[in-house]
């Protein structure tokens, strides 16, 4: 599931741009690969994140994985719900499972992200079914 209207990173994060604020989360493909998410570690409000650098960690039962920020900027809000209920990442990766709202430092960075079509190609999705490993 790769919704239209979002931008994507090759590392499987999504961005929804609204004015100069970007909402960031991980994709359905990513949560599917991870399995049950049991812990989410996110930066606090006011911290800076950098494009393609680690912004935090999601832990599944079996492994810890970095989440890379698709954009640079200041964290204006983090999703406390997802820290308390990590399963939201699995249940609702594009809605309730969002992670950060970031005030964009450089809109030009958005050019380095993938369109929904390009991201689908990146994960080998052709007919709507995720190409699992």
């Amino acid at each position: 599931m790769v919704p239209e209207g979002l931008l994507y990173s090759k590392e499987h994060e999504w961005v929804k741009v609204d004015g100069d604020v970007a909402t960031v989360g991980i994709t359905d493909f990513a949560q599917e690969q991870l399995g049950d998410v049991v812990f989410v570690e996110l930066p606090s409000k006011g911290e800076q994140v950098r494009q393609f650098a680690s912004l935090g960690v999601v832990e599944s039962v079996k492994a810890a994985s970095d989440v890379y920020s698709p954009v640079s900027g200041e964290v204006v809000e983090r999703n406390v719900d997802v820290m308390e209920k990590p399963e939201l990442v699995n249940q609702s990766p594009y809605q309730k499972g969002w992670m950060l709202k970031v005030k964009l430092a450089d809109r030009g960075e958005l050019r380095d992200l993938l369109s929904p079509g390009d991201y689908r190609a990146h994960i080998g999705e052709t007919t709507g079914a995720a190409g699992a490993d």
Partner: protein
């Protein structure tokens, strides 16, 4: 290293059930069919079926079998009645643990020892070195399949596929740690009421080629009891909540049973056995470190993570996970005895940060009696 992975007789079943297959101890095994958390809870609340055919099966037969198995192990095999099983350890002369095993006495002069998959080769060499002439050894690991049915509904499911009088809460038929020969799904089987999940459950040993028949019949019989196939992922979280050891993580050739908290498996009064001297000595003077349970507040502890006290490294996590039933991040770790008391505040270093943890009573989970 480049040897191809072995496949169990149930490989095709796993694939058709949508399992994610991973390499484990030289085998291609199902780690999960869907959600590990759901599989875990299913075993706690209903029941699950496991393919454990990768495990090793060693038979010892003959007039000298009892003495030989007793010599190889720390627990009192001499007191094991026919039809009974016991948790046991094999030690080196140094007291280090070669493997943890279950010993089943299946006949007057017949013992089945089930060993860890990763240790089959090593154990075979260990148990046949100096094998007495009155013991016949057979390694049946590659001709024996093992299907486990575990969970509070397991007895109902197994009753439906066997001719054995298995009753819930009954010592007739097949009590906990009992073992019998029986027909299961119209196949000759050795069936035992043992497991690695902390729930009531059964382990069914059958000929390799008959495994699909048993597997299919068990799943069909269990359908109305909420059965599902369970992968090695949930097997690990289930066992860790119960503080069951994982060989290679929690215990190995450098750990002595006493420091691992396995003194109860060592019977010093049973006569001579491999490792007796160093184990007795550690029991006498007390270990310098102990395997303790930790609950970690903020991050999932994992194998190899450092345990710290005031910034100093004092130990290492041997196993760690999010415990799905206890809803906490739990770990086992070796720490100095001075830091092993229940309630001792420690930290686990997770991604460079010292995250608060405390020593807690184990097991983390125990099923209601």
């Amino acid at each position: 290293m480049d040897e191809p992975l072995k496949r169990t007789a149930l490989y095709d079943e796993h694939r058709s059930l949508g399992a994610k297959m991973v390499p484990f101890a030289g085998w291609e095994m199902p780690i999960q069919y869907g959600s590990i958390l759901e599989e875990h809870e299913r075993v706690r609340n209903a029941c699950g079926a496991f393919d454990l055919s990768h495990m090793g099966e060693f038979w010892f037969r003959g007039a000298g079998a009892r003495a030989w198995v007793s010599r190889l192990t720390t627990n009192d095999v001499g007191r094991l009645d026919v039809g009974r099983a016991q948790y046991n350890l094999m030690c080196l002369p140094s007291g280090g643990i070669v493997d943890d095993v279950i010993v089943y006495r299946t006949g007057e002069d017949e013992y089945l020892v089930v060993v860890n998959a990763a240790n089959v080769e090593k154990d075979r060499a260990h148990v046949t070195r100096g094998l007495p002439p009155d013991v016949r050894f057979e390694d049946a690991s590659l001709t024996t399949a093992l299907v486990a049915v575990q969970g509070p509904r397991a007895s109902v499911v197994v009753m439906a596929v066997t001719n054995l009088p298995v009753r819930e809460e009954s010592i007739e038929g097949l009590p906990p740690f009992g073992v019998r020969r029986a027909r299961v799904a119209d196949v000759d089987a050795v069936i035992a009421r043992t497991g690695y999940t902390g729930e009531d459950g059964f382990e069914i040993f059958v000929e390799w080629e008959r495994a699909p028949q048993v597997w299919t019949r068990v799943l069909a019989a269990g359908a109305s009891n909420g059965i599902a196939p369970i992968g090695l992922g949930a097997r690990d979280t289930l066992r860790l909540e119960c503080r069951y050891m994982l060989y290679g993580n929690d215990i190995d050739e450098t750990t002595n049973p006493i420091e691992a908290g396995l003194g109860w498996v060592v019977k010093l009064d049973k006569g001579e056995f491999n490792g007796r001297e160093p184990v007795a000595s550690m029991k006498e003077r007390g270990p310098s470190r102990r395997l303790v349970g930790l609950v970690v507040d903020g991050g999932v502890p994992r194998h190899g993570y450092e345990v710290t006290k005031d910034g100093d490294v004092v130990g290492r996590v041997t196993s760690g996970t999010f415990g799905p039933t206890v809803r906490k991040n739990i770990a086992l770790a070796y720490v100095p005895v001075t830091l092993a008391a229940i309630g001792t505040p420690l930290c686990v270093r997770i991604r460079g940060k010292d995250v608060p943890a405390s020593v807690v009573k184990t097991p983390f989970y125990k099923r209601a009696a």
